[in-house]
């Protein structure tokens, strides 16, 4: 594969269909993620309407009548999305709340199975989100180690990265205290520092930049740029459109699970702001 791509870039380095690739990376322009008519459906429990809630007796009646649980609803979150992402792309995904952005990211990461269609990737896209593995009762120190292991690092990698993570997060001595004592900004900084400590081929970022002060925001944008250079492909979901405009070279606008518009950041963002 590597040979082939080298050959390809020698034959026709400019014909790749993606935009601006100033990078010298010989792999630039080859597809890394292909999403083909993807549908995602998932089930939601709970949240019954008042009429359905009922008591034990009506639950029993439902069972006798062999009806399913009324509280279980199917959500069709992504409805037929297709696109091709290439090496060197930073793709921003925008859309209202509930438009399927996070679901799409999870599906690309291979964490949600497609209902129909497919996601094709080379290697393992990783979601930048180690939050779920951390425990707020534990010290920052333990959480760093736990988070690194959760992302699949080896002990020597953890030792190597530990100081860097503490430095980058800028939480200083607080690393000795439980995370429950942190301010929300500190917590967000530590989480971002941990999850961005690993290098990835394809990186998926979900609103990681939402919190933190201006200085940290700048730092984390820098880090994303670095990761983008190293990774090849970055997907970024954010409500903060400035971040998207500054970091991405392509934007996908999702609306109710479908692609409303796709292309150059300025054009799409302009249309999005008008809508």
């Amino acid at each position: 594969m590597a040979e082939l791509t080298k050959e390809l870039s020698q034959v026709a380095p400019q014909t790749s269909e993606t935009q601006n690739h100033e990078t010298q990376n010989p792999k630039a322009g080859t597809p890394t993620v292909i999403v083909d008519d993807l549908h995602i459906v998932y089930k939601v429990y709970g949240s019954a309407s008042d009429a359905e809630k009922g008591n034990a007796a009506s639950a029993l009646m439902r069972m006798l009548r062999r009806q399913g649980r009324p509280q279980m609803k199917e959500v069709h979150a992504v409805k037929g999305v297709s696109f091709v992402a290439h090496h060197g792309d930073a793709i921003g995904i925008i859309g209202r709340n509930g438009s399927g952005k996070s679901t799409l990211l999870r599906a690309i990461a291979g964490l949600l199975p497609p209902h129909k269609g497919a996601v094709y990737t080379n290697g393992q896209p990783s979601l930048l989100g180690v939050n779920a593995a951390l425990m707020k009762e534990l010290t920052g120190e333990r959480n760093i180690i736990l988070g690194c292991y959760a992302m699949g690092m080896t002990p020597s990698e953890v030792r190597e990265k530990y100081d860097e993570i503490v430095d980058f997060s800028g939480i200083g001595d607080f690393v000795q205290f439980p995370m429950s004592t942190y301010s929300s900004g500190m917590g967000a900084r530590l989480r971002f520092a941990i999850s961005s400590a690993k290098t990835h081929d394809v990186l998926l970022i979900d609103e990681a930049l939402a919190t933190g002060d201006r200085e940290f925001k700048k730092k984390s944008q820098q880090r994303i740029k670095q990761m983008r250079d190293a990774a090849g492909t970055v997907f970024l979901v954010a409500h903060n459109l400035d971040v998207i405009e500054e970091t991405c070279n392509r934007v996908i606008w999702l609306h109710k699970g479908k692609i409303r518009m796709e292309g150059d950041p300025q054009e799409v963002l302009e249309a999005y702001n008008k809508a």
């Binding site: 082939l4 050959e7 014909t15 089930k43 964490l111 393992q124 990783s126 009762e137 534990l138």
Partner: protein, 301 residues
């Protein structure tokens, strides 16, 4: 893998005719994101995650008691209090203690050995369903979760065993060379628990009502396992197959094995060895296989 011709064709065709995305993916060697790895590959991935499993188990144990004032002391206090309650109930009030010699040691051995399996079953059933956000955020072999929960219980068992051995000594039993076999029976029970925990993890992941039902199942199991009474004494008048069924019960087998070592100072009989080993191997193979079969479906919700 793709042929050079087709790659060339693609490279030259600037505004080429639309082709299927699946074909494009195949030409570039891209694969579908979701696939269950083969069993050997799965085991290798799991081994690579051993540090995560251990750290996760330890972290859960640390955070579990971090809110309480006595902290880690509860790891010792919980089994002690449990034994005290059962001793009061069955030893003093119901008067079992007259029939069985050294009833406190008999009882506490049963309680602690059974608790190890009981807690793995209950926590194993929750290991997937209460970690959905973790499963939906990171890639790792999902078996790491039930395994971590079993390891967590094993760490707790360590404290319980110290309490148990001390209490057995206090009640007047002598130290015996047979005690060297304690790690062996614990290992067999651990393997059994791993298999059962995995089995329960898949059940609990897809049958959400399991967690409500489990306390009743484990309590029935507790009463059937001869924790408070001697099975051979109670089943004297019953048909043979019933007694055989009760003694074949894995929990009862591990309890009896431990009592032989700790209290009666006798080398366990051959059937006890066979039963204990059989259950360990059987549970591990079935549980692991059953869990692995649904690997790609965990977290779908």
């Amino acid at each position: 893998m793709s042929q050079p011709e087709s790659a060339l064709a693609e490279a030259q065709g600037g505004g080429r005719a639309p082709e299927s995305l699946a074909a494009l993916a195949e030409r570039h060697g891209l694969r579908r994101a979701i696939a269950r790895p083969s069993m050997p590959a799965y085991l290798r991935q799991l081994w690579d995650r051993r540090h995560f499993i251990l750290t996760y188990a330890t972290s859960r144990n640390v955070s579990k008691y971090s809110e309480s004032m006595l902290g880690q002391l509860w790891q010792v206090l919980t089994p002690l209090l449990n034994a005290a309650v059962y001793w009061l109930m069955f030893g003093v009030i119901l008067g079992q203690s007259k029939k069985i010699e050294n009833y406190p040691a008999f009882l506490i051995t049963g309680v602690m050995v059974f608790t190890f399996t009981q807690r793995t079953v209950i926590s194993g059933a929750k290991s997937i369903s209460s970690n959905l956000s973790l499963i939906r955020a990171l890639h790792f072999p999902r078996a790491a979760l039930p395994l971590a929960y079993v390891i967590q219980e094993l760490q707790q068992l360590g404290y319980s065993m110290v309490v148990l051995v001390l209490l057995v000594l206090v009640t007047g039993e002598p130290v015996s060379w047979l005690w060297l076999l304690i790690p062996v029976v614990l290992l067999m029970q651990l393997v059994f628990n791993i298999g059962t925990g995995m089995f329960m993890a898949r059940l609990g992941a897809f049958m959400r009502d399991m967690n409500q039902l489990l306390p009743f199942i484990t309590r029935t199991w507790l009463y059937a396992s001869g924790v408070f009474y001697a099975i051979d004494d109670r089943t004297k008048d019953l048909p043979d197959f019933l007694r055989w069924a009760l003694e074949f019960n894995p929990a009862a087998a591990y309890i009896e094995f431990m009592r032989d070592l700790l209290i009666y100072q006798r080398f366990p009989e051959r059937w006890a060895w066979v039963t204990c080993i059989f259950w360990a191997v059987f549970a591990l193979i079935v549980g692991f296989w059953y869990f692995w079969r649904a690997e790609e479906r965990y977290g779908r919700g």
